[in-house]
Symmetry: C2
Subunit: 163 residues, 2 copies
């Protein structure tokens, strides 16, 4: 790093080789981490990360039910993605959809006993996996730094999104 053009370094040029190396390490490793977590969740609980997110949101909801759009907002998914996923989860008996009492256009998504049971059984193993694969891999300072890095990336992403 550090060719002799300091004023052109920031925000203008392509990444250096070192920056690119870090980028690749970072993105590939987070990918591997994600996929390892997903596979443990699958093996230990027969749930996908998507299933888990939906079940978590419903478990925390009043009456274990949410309007479809609220659910989408809560977990940050596009409507159509959620709709497809709910279809699959409904086939497996994890959730149930029924017409909303107050708005005939809308749908209420309900947690079924089967779904609640599946979620209960998955929580502890999943949290344990997060601890083992993420938290335990890092020193306390690294963990703190990871939080700050995430925050910085998020702010930057959101800022660029608005532009």
């Amino acid at each position: 790093m550090t060719r002799a053009t300091p004023n052109r370094r920031r925000g203008r040029q392509l990444p250096t080789a070192e920056e690119l190396r870090i980028w690749r390490d970072f993105i590939e490793t987070t990918d591997a981490l994600r996929s390892r977590l997903a596979s443990r969740l699958q093996v230990e609980s027969s749930l996908s990360p998507g299933d888990y997110a939906v079940l978590l949101a419903l478990s925390e909801a009043q009456d274990q039910q949410l309007r479809s759009s609220e659910l989408a907002t809560h977990i940050g998914w596009e409507r159509s993605r959620l709709s497809h996923h709910l279809g699959r989860m409904e086939r497996r008996g994890l959730i149930r959809r029924q017409e909303c009492a107050t708005d005939p256009r809308g749908a209420e998504v309900h947690l079924t006993p089967t779904g609640a049971e599946a979620f209960r059984g998955s929580t502890v193993p999943h949290l344990r996996a997060i601890r083992e694969l993420f938290v335990d891999a890092l020193t306390p300072e690294q963990l703190r730094a990871a939080g700050e890095i995430a925050a910085a990336l998020r702010v930057h992403l959101d800022a660029r999104h608005k532009e």
Copy 2:
């Protein structure tokens, strides 16, 4: 953080609320970053991240060709994933598969002129996007920390994989 059971803190228990918050920030943000990068690549070059990885590997290869299994190893994909992806890329004219001269079982994957052209055109915008969305979001110390975090996670993942 920090209940009064210091000897049970490490490696045994579930994550604390703070650890869990960091985990969620971290994984959700890296996901958002990945998907933003993918969408820019798509818009700017009509390529998916998978396309880019394949084209990059072939571009760097001797004679712009690789055995299918070497390619899979190089980019870290499962064989079947690569096979499906190559099928799609072949339909679009980005690569070509032909029987390997030295081993009739094997397949050689060749970069086509179309594929080479697409890759050339995508490189600069893609690297610029990495710079803008990742490198520029972080301070130099954070960038260094990101590299160290990735390395630590990787080592930990690999260690647990062997167990």
